[in-house]
Symmetry: C2
Subunit: 198 residues, 2 copies
């Protein structure tokens, strides 16, 4: 039996509830969340190793040269990436590793880690998504409309994912993600029939 943990990409528009789903998954103890590295400066209360690993440009570029990222990208002049070493250690311990990644990053991960599985967390409807975004009440009208337009673009790309899971009632959504992780571990290519045949 190949007991290695799974590399799990989770994406979805802002307001779909990815964060809550991931928090629930981690409670089970067999799921870890990859902490991204970035060259942007910490904001407010952000702590190194909690929200991000904050790196200098040189440190980040050294890691790129040493094949230290599962994927990385530049946004607004800063680097963002998913460190490879910690994720691989967790997987070798049999833990599933979640990468919360922008829709645009999913293709890259699939190229570099074809065994990864990708899950798109989908809002039940655009109306509910809008309602959730407005409830936060921290964003301007302009920002909300921008997020909704962006959500539509992201949803159009959801078909590139392996699984699409609607986040209506959170418990159902979490149970569905757990089903997927369990089922993926039952795939025949993870099983060594020689262990049975001797």
């Amino acid at each position: 039996m190949k007991n290695k943990g799974l590399l799990v990409v989770i994406s979805g528009p802002a307001g779909a509830g990815k964060g809550t789903v991931v928090t629930e998954l981690v409670k089970d103890g067999n799921v870890e969340v990859s902490i991204s590295a970035t060259t942007r400066a910490p904001r407010g209360q952000e702590k190194d190793g909690v929200e991000y690993h904050f790196l200098s440009r040189e440190q980040f570029q050294d890691m790129i040269e040493n094949d230290g990222f599962l994927e990385y990208a530049q946004y607004c002049g800063n680097y963002y990436g998913s460190p490879k070493k910690q994720a691989e250690e967790w997987m070798h311990q049999g833990k599933d590793v979640i990468l919360e990644i922008e829709v645009q990053g999913c293709e890259k991960i699939k190229q570099q880690s074809p065994d990864c599985i990708s899950i798109f967390i989908m809002p039940p409807s655009m109306e509910i998504l809008e309602h959730r975004l407005r409830k936060r009440a921290t964003d301007s009208e302009e920002s909300i409309l921008h997020r909704l337009a962006r959500a539509k673009e992201e949803i159009r790309l959801a078909e590139n994912y392996d699984y699409i899971i609607v986040n209506g009632p959170i418990e159902e959504c979490v149970a569905d993600v757990k089903s997927v992780l369990n089922a993926e571990k039952l795939k025949a290519n993870r099983f060594d029939v020689k262990e049975i045949l001797g």
Copy 2:
């Protein structure tokens, strides 16, 4: 959302416990078991439409000509097949349809119904399989050795299935099969993003 039920091939060696697993799955109400058709004569208490649909050779051949089978084969001069019509009606009702099929029949089903999913029910070990076969106590030593040899051949082909599920504790095995059925329904290709985007 494409709510069609799944076509699920379940195979595994005699003594692996397929029958018990299938009985448990059916209890949920959303799973039906395809009843095979055969040209062999009923044995003992067997009733038409329960163990098998008993057909004449002409009836069976008519059904072949009218594309009436998901798969069929001949063993020992008799035809055996999985009728298509009832299975498709159930699937259109959103029910999952189980075909309990010999390992040799799985390839055929996959060719004709590429969307089907295939699950191999695996004994935890050859020792446990032997123990289970001997417990039945209805078979001769020769028959038990024959079944064990055949089981090894079948297990060698398990890698051709989509999923391999070990049947240790029956509740775990049934829960694993349910995970697989649930996860398969969350596959992105069954989701219509237009329903969200409007």
